[in-house]
């Protein structure tokens, strides 16, 4: 069995979730290679070399992959796929974007967002916003899989893989990158933080998210939000937690002014400890919370910040 894993990165940093995807690959078993496709991404290659359990790092460093456009990356990965039984990527926005193209070009079905490996061809994945868990067997000889990182533990970074430079430079020529508007933040990534504190519609406006910042500073937490808070323009879209936003599973998740709709729960209910702060004792969030406070968030938050 040979497995190729696409490395998530931004040309500077290897996204830590890739380490969890490697552990999903180890559960399948076989020779594991990584692919770094990007431009001026030597720093990422250095980090990829150290990922445990990996024998080779393939590097496609070319302007065609600078923004990891799906049209170009999918051609590269499809070409490399000839040598592998399993192609994997983390179910983040890059992998979700190009992997189904790879599957279609290889004429195989994709198994999205796996949370468990039963055997080399049988995988476990959530459906219906996590309200049901499906066990699916793939009948294709080649497997194309995306992995929900929160379901796997990260592998260590004490490896020493060989680096193989590729000469491919496939540019489909049908799309181009215009610009990025990335949110700058000093805080840990939502996906990587041990503590996440999220605000919902109950926060009333964007300014009030400052009340979460003081607490986040003390706990080293990332800040998230419900869709209602994002829709209302309180905070940017990349903070959304849920079925269609980010999936998080920190040690501690604090939901503030969030009712607990199934779509929100889908993104956080695998957190180890859940705390809910909500003035409505009937809010569904209390059904999943380990500790709840039924109170006005504007009273609770300043006091909580003081007492931490």
């Amino acid at each position: 069995m040979s497995i190729l894993i696409y490395v998530e990165h931004d040309n500077n940093e290897l996204k830590a979730d890739t380490l969890k995807t490697v552990s999903a690959a180890q559960a399948i078993g076989g020779d594991i290679n990584l692919l770094v496709a990007g431009h001026n991404c030597a720093a990422v290659v250095e980090q990829a070399k150290n990922v445990s359990g990996v024998s080779k790092v393939l590097v496609a460093d070319n302007a065609a992959y600078a923004n990891q456009l799906a049209e170009n990356v999918s051609l590269l990965v499809t070409e490399l796929a000839a040598d592998y039984n399993v192609i994997m990527a983390t179910a983040l926005t890059t992998g979700k974007n190009f992997m189904p193209r790879v599957a279609a070009l290889l004429d195989v079905a994709q198994i999205s967002d796996i949370i468990g490996v039963e055997s080399a061809d049988t995988f476990v994945r959530p459906i219906y916003a996590g309200n049901a868990i499906a066990t699916v067997q793939s009948l294709d000889s080649k497997k194309v899989i995306t992995v929900r990182a929160t379901a796997f533990d990260a592998v260590a970074t004490d490896g020493n893989a060989d680096v193989v430079n590729l000469s491919q430079a496939t540019d489909a020529g049908t799309s181009s990158h215009v610009n990025d508007e990335f949110t700058e933040s000093e805080r840990p990534d939502l996906g990587a933080a041990n503590v996440v504190i999220s605000g919902g519609r109950g926060m009333q406006n964007g300014d009030n998210f400052k009340l979460l910042e003081g607490i986040a500073d003390k706990l080293g937490a990332a800040i998230g939000a419900s869709r209602a808070a994002v829709d209302a323009g309180f905070v940017p879209n990349d903070m959304q937690v849920g079925q269609t936003g980010k999936i998080v599973a920190p040690d501690l998740y604090i939901a503030v002014g969030i009712s607990g709709a199934i779509q929100h729960l889908a993104g956080m209910k695998d957190s180890k400890i859940i705390v809910a702060i909500n003035k409505d004792a009937e809010a569904p969030i209390f059904q999943v919370a380990d500790y709840g406070i039924v109170a006005d968030l504007f009273d609770v938050l300043p006091e909580l910040e003081n007492k931490l």
Partner: protein
């Protein structure tokens, strides 16, 4: 410019599904069904393009059994001009849905295909990208803004770090994210009018495709239930519990 909008009939997003006692699948008997919310946003976007003079004709298409005609009628009431049902009783893999859509794209030659980014039942998030690959077209997935600009379309995408804008040569494939627009409600006169709009039915078996399943659903189980915990009375108590009982803060 012709716009093709694939829509899927799914469980209503407010309904919490239950797993069947024999663990063979979820139980959809007597459950409220609706257009997949992302597909509704796709229809709305197409209608707005038509209202803005950029689109001339909107074709809604759904692949499924006869019951999906209900969702096609809704799409017609929302502003689609005509509809196509590809009839099948099978639960198809996204790959097969994409292959059928590819055939329709070849026949209809739309300049733009707008799909939802994800079905809220399978949570696959595959079909649009697969269709793009099969047709060799560029894609703008997870769109929060779509701007036609001559023979190109600029799509602003919701990505993990924020927003990314790409320029795609037309024809192109777009998949919608939630913030692209807020769908309108169908008015009563438009619901009446929709009954007379054309709805073609084709058999999936007529397309000459091998639609043999590539995956087998072995079982479906309910997720691990979380136990509701306790309600604490004071912030002091909360901090004490988090430190000493849960041990998640120092």
């Amino acid at each position: 410019m012709k716009v093709l909008v694939p829509i899927k009939r799914v469980i209503d997003y407010n309904v919490k599904v239950r797993v069947k006692a024999d663990n063979s699948d979820v139980d959809l008997a007597n459950v409220k069904m609706a257009i997949n919310p992302f597909c509704e946003i796709a229809v709305e976007e197409a209608v707005r393009l038509k209202e803005a003079g950029a689109a001339t004709e909107i074709i809604a298409i759904s692949i499924g059994d006869k019951s999906c005609q209900e969702q096609l009628r809704t799409a017609l009431a929302l502003g689609a001009d005509r509809a196509i049902q590809i009839n099948t009783d099978e639960k198809l893999d996204s790959l097969h849905v994409a292959k059928l859509l590819q055939k329709v794209v070849e026949e209809e030659q739309p300049q733009l295909v707008i799909l939802g980014k994800q079905s809220i039942d399978s949570d696959n998030n595959q079909t649009g990208q697969m269709l793009a690959a099969l047709t060799g077209l560029p894609q703008g997935t997870f769109a929060s803004e779509v701007k036609i600009d001559g023979d190109k379309v600029n799509v602003t995408r919701e990505v993990d770090g924020g927003l990314q804008t790409v320029a795609l040569n037309l024809p192109a494939i777009v998949t919608t994210d939630l913030r692209l627009n807020e769908p309108r409600y169908a008015s009563l006169p438009n619901i009446m009018k929709a009954k007379r709009k054309p709805l073609d039915v084709k058999e999936a078996s007529e397309f000459g495709l091998d639609l043999t399943p590539r995956t087998t659903l072995l079982k479906v189980t309910p997720p691990a239930e979380r136990q509701a915990g306790i309600v604490v009375e004071t912030v002091d108590e909360l901090v004490e519990k988090l430190k000493n009982e849960a041990k998640v803060i120092a």
